[in-house]
Amino acid sequence: MKRSITRLLMAPSVLLLLVWMVVPLSMTIYFSTINYNLLYPGRNNFVGWMNFEFFVTDPGFWIAISNTLILLLSVLVITVVLGVALAALIDQPFWGRNVVRVLLISPFFIMPTVNALIWKNMMMNPVYGIFAWLSQSFGLEPIDWLSDYPLMSVIIMVSWQWLPFAILVFVTALQSQDTEQKEAAQMDGATSWHIFRYLTIPHLARPIAVVVMIETIFLLAVFAEIYVSTGGGPGYDSTNLAYLIYNQALLQYDVGVASAGGLFAVLLANIVAFFLIRAVGKNLTV
């Protein structure tokens, strides 16, 4: 009796997510095996592996995969390392801590499209941007960020967005750290580095796991920042898998190839998730 009630309570969530996963995914699988271009309707014959071959041999394919992974790893490293360092910094007492907290969390609330537009125009523009003005003030040649370092520009934008998230999770975690333990270590003559290394870092293991997991979910799918700032270019230099598929589907109207690409994205996400859930799962109590 009770069992059936609990199942009933779970049913809506489970069924909805099942439909949300199975229906589009099976459609994607089906589309990926047929010839399906929106410009040429009615020629939807079975083509086997051809769409996959076409997608894999696209000159952008391997670049997009490597860009996706570089973006993911760079942002994870930047946000976790800087996040831990800055959290340790603002965990100490100083004047105006609450205001600093508010300032630090703000970039997290900025929508990706606005984020990209601010950085692209007002920060990174090679003529009128703040960075250009700074380099000129130091007598240096201004850098054309989006053309010369497109992927790095995207990494900067995305890190800017996610660093506040990391900082705040870590600060919250540090506040729960046992102060008596720290004081005892201090009495025994431990340096601040030792306390940080042997007490604080282990204490942060679980929050780090949470940050890595949540960020990975969002970073594998970075889209708007690229769409608005570099448009994936120049060439394929800042195209990630999400953007490559988008290009294929909505700009070239080739649903078949885009669906094949979508399956590659699913595959890549699964590979990453496999390692991630194994590594992080241990740190999440269920």
Partner: protein, 276 residues
């Protein structure tokens, strides 16, 4: 130097470093904000101008050009609609998993999270086609449905971790008094976890407000929320940073201010219960 002096010096140095970092990270937002009050000429002047005579002209131009209020309303409706819907669906599920865990509970939770790992772009085409066929393209209802499903796994997880931390004794006492699972949920669990539900809802609202992939691909002029409206300012038809900044400020201000007020709640939610 005495110990107190040393401590004082350290506090000052820490404060200095923290303020520097905070101001640097906040600078782009500050710059966007003040640029929105400049004329186009002032916006691109080199060296950048910090002091100038502010104008409100940009804001009225943005409202005229892109009908800000309509898009803002779309954002409000889709964010709040999807959040409420997702909470209604997720609360019973999280409750039943937290208080009546079975052998498969852990697997179900991990599976839910794994649906979140499924990249949106992998199912872009089918969702686009389904939305088109059911008349949900460029409609608020379509976005609400997508946003609900998109955030459901995270919402279930967060609620689950809150519910799990509630003291079990209270429930047992209620059960002794003959409460059914439904009574328990509505009369005991929900009142005790208002804070947790609020943080979950807040996070969901922020995620919906800033969602850009589906809103860019599935809406046009009618149902486009603010994220999509802003993207229309990315086309390089001349330099108009002041208007761009005004539009961006208008798009972000509601959620940033909202976030400032709720930051404590929000941070608790973001840690997924992994941090007490």
């Amino acid at each position: 130097m005495t110990l107190t002096q040393q401590r004082k010096l350290k506090t000052i140095l820490v404060g200095l470093a923290a303020w520097t970092v905070a101001l640097l990270l906040f600078f782009p937002i500050f710059w966007m904000f003040i640029t929105s009050f400049k004329t186009e000429l002032q916006a691109i002047s080199v060296p950048p101008q910090l002091f100038f005579e502010p104008t409100l002209e940009n804001f009225s131009i943005v409202q005229e050009r892109s009908d800000y209020l309509k898009h803002a309303w779309n954002s409000v409706v889709t964010s709040f609609g999807a959040t409420i819907l997702a909470l209604v669906i997720a609360i019973p599920a999280a409750y039943s998993m937290a208080f009546f865990p079975g052998k498969r509970t852990k697997d179900i939770l991990l599976w839910m999270l794994s649906t979140k790992m499924l990249p949106a772009v992998g199912v872009l085409v089918p969702i686009y086609i389904l939305s088109r066929d059911y008349g949900l393209l460029d409609s608020k209802l379509g976005l609400v449905i997508i946003f609900t499903l998109m955030n459901l796994p995270i919402i279930v997880w967060m609620l689950f971790s809150y519910f799990k931390d509630l003291p079990k004794e209270i429930l047992e006492a209620a059960r002794m008094d003959g409460a059914t699972p439904w009574d328990e949920m509505v009369k005991v669990v929900l009142p005790l976890s208002v804070g947790g539900i609020a943080s979950t809802g807040l996070l969901s609202i922020v995620l919906c407000w800033n969602e850009a992939f589906w809103s860019l691909n599935l809406t046009a002029s009618e149902a486009a929320p603010l994220t999509a409206m802003i993207a229309s300012y990315s086309s390089p038809e001349g330099l108009f940073w002041a208007k761009l900044s005004a539009a961006s400020t208008l798009a972000c201000a509601p959620i940033v201010i909202f976030g400032w007020f709720c930051q404590k709640q929000l941070v608790q939610g973001l840690t997924f219960g992994a941090v007490k």
